[in-house]
């Protein structure tokens, strides 16, 4: 095997249809980076979901003097409160129960909306009901059991699973992720077609050379290798650009997003490397396999 000869052939091939090669590299780069972004997104969403699942709890709101719920007859009494607390803490699915008084709830509300005084001024202490904050051992799975145990009990106005609020947010994230992955897949198809076309063009451009190679008895491997490597090298160039873009996505987009939501569940360097390596495998395999299949059709042996 004369590596210098093969490299020279590849160089000639890539240079001869330079515009095609550039288009190919760009499309591979974009499709791989979108694919990688989708993967990073999935990882990010999963890690935040796990994080939040350990934090969310069930809020059991108690009746106040002006609760509209027919179950309520004035504010929940001490006996009712004790009964509810007893019911909750005796359940095996519950890991902890905290009481939040109306005053605490009001102070927390004022703190959360401190920069919107007009909003704060419309709410008075007493408008926000007191609640039991219930932490579950297995969030997500046991919500219904715990909720039904206290729903309708004397002094309970409503039971809210915080997970349902977060789910709306996650649905949005999932939709964004799906969109990215779908666009990436469409681009991957475009990349495959471009690889096939580039190789076909390359094979056509060099039909003289390959014809002579065939006649003088060059092995099929030797004839096909430059074309195959041409596709793979274009794929590798595309991957390098995609890797740079992915590092950008991670450090500028996801890490900023994380600051914005102020939770500490950023993706590790290992996650990034994993995605980049996966993108390389996809890119090289895709380009290599497409080149190979195209050659079988267009390069007569």
């Amino acid at each position: 095997m004369r590596s210098q000869f093969v490299l020279q052939e590849i160089w000639i091939g890539l240079r001869r249809n330079l515009t095609m090669t550039i288009a190919l590299i760009v499309v591979v780069a974009i499709s791989l980076s979108l694919l990688g972004t989708g993967l990073l997104f999935i990882k990010q969403v999963n890690s935040t979901r796990t994080y939040w699942q350990s934090k969310v709890q069930i809020s059991v709101y108690l009746c106040t003097s002006n609760s509209p719920n027919p179950n309520c007859h004035g504010p929940a009494t001490d006996a009712e409160q004790a009964q509810i607390r007893q019911t909750l803490s005796s359940m095996p699915q519950v890991s902890a129960v905290y009481y939040q008084s109306q005053q605490q709830a009001y102070l927390q509300f004022r703190q959360y909306f401190a920069n919107d005084q007009s909003y704060v001024s419309t709410v008075q202490q007493g408008d926000i009901p007191a609640s039991f904050e219930v932490r579950l051992k297995n969030p997500g799975a046991d919500y219904n059991i715990v909720a039904s145990a206290v729903t309708g009990a004397a002094g309970v106005e409503s039971v809210v699973d915080e997970m349902t609020i977060l789910d709306k947010f996650y649905k949005l994230l999932d939709a964004a992720r799906n969109a990215v992955v779908i666009v990436a897949l469409i681009l991957v198809i475009a990349a495959v077609l471009l690889v096939a076309n580039t190789i076909r063009l390359s094979a056509f451009n060099r039909r003289r050379e390959t014809g002579i190679m065939r006649l003088v008895g060059a092995s099929n491997f030797y004839i096909q290798l430059p074309f195959l490597l041409e596709g793979v090298i274009a794929g590798l160039f595309g991957w390098i650009i995609a890797a740079a873009l992915l590092i950008g996505v991670k450090s500028f987009l996801l890490d900023n997003l994380q600051q914005y939501f102020s939770y500490n569940v950023g993706l590790s360097l290992a996650d990034l490397i994993q995605v980049i390596v996966l993108a390389m495998c996809v890119g090289v395999l895709l380009c290599g396999a497409t080149s190979f299949l195209t050659l079988r059709r267009y390069l007569r042996i």
Binding site: R208, M213, V216
Partner: protein, 229 residues
């Protein structure tokens, strides 16, 4: 060296056979002219030897190998033992004389030292001394055909197939080409040359095989192009 045993070739979608029950034996070191009108099966005969086509029926042996039993990945090794020259030269326009000849060795993975030694020898053999650096478009037709012959012979094949090698060349230059072919033949290489050139066939007085409508109608040692002329 080349053995055809009742070989028939029918191309797909064609009713008439390109070759019909051809029995032929070409021995080692022979020089054979293949004559006959266009469409008589000369090119098919050459393509069958290279295993570019498969016979519809019959058996072909080349260089001791049964082509029907030769696996696809061994075909290149068969072709290394067969050199080819064509009417249209088929040189690479972007490579000079030396590179064109060296290409044939490069692509079969010969070491560079070997190539550096052998290529100049063959270029001298075909009579192109001192023209290593010329590009094909700077050469006359005869010289281009000499380059093609050097390329076909550089790997010392057992068989040289020539498909109308003088078809694009004037008669005076053709004589030079034939001298080179004769020189190659004298090294022990079997030469099979398909041609329409009556003057050359008559002057060489070698074995002549005439094909017509895919059948061998004449096989003469020391023959001429056509008895009728």
């Amino acid at each position: 060296m080349i053995n055809f045993d009742s070989v028939t070739k029918v191309y797909p979608n064609q009713s008439r056979a390109a070759l019909e029950s051809v029995n032929l034996a070409v021995n080692k070191g022979e020089f054979v002219f293949l004559v006959g009108p266009s469409g008589s099966g000369k090119s098919t005969f050459l393509r069958l030897i290279l295993k570019e086509e498969r016979p519809t029926d019959g058996r072909i042996h080349v260089a001791g190998k049964d082509l029907a039993r030769l696996t696809n990945w061994k075909v290149p090794h068969l072709r290394r033992r067969i050199g080819c020259v064509f009417q249209d030269f088929r040189l690479l326009p972007s490579k000079n004389v030396y590179q064109n000849v060296a290409f044939a060795l490069e692509v079969i993975g010969k070491p560079r030292r070997f190539i550096r030694r052998v290529v100049p020898e063959v270029i001298d053999l075909v009579g192109l001394e001192g023209k290593h650096d010329r590009m094909p478009d700077e050469l006359s037709g005869g010289e281009q055909q000499r380059v093609a012959m050097a390329r076909a012979f550089v790997n010392r094949p057992m068989i040289l197939l020539a498909d109308e090698p003088t078809g694009n060349i004037d008669p005076a230059t053709s004589i030079g080409i034939m001298k080179v072919l004769d020189r190659i033949n004298r090294t022990g290489t079997t030469v099979v040359m398909a041609t329409h050139d009556a003057a050359i066939v008559d002057s060489m007085r070698k074995r002549v095989i005439e094909l017509e409508y895919g059948k061998v109608v004449r096989d003469q040692s020391r023959g001429v192009y056509g008895q009728a002329y």
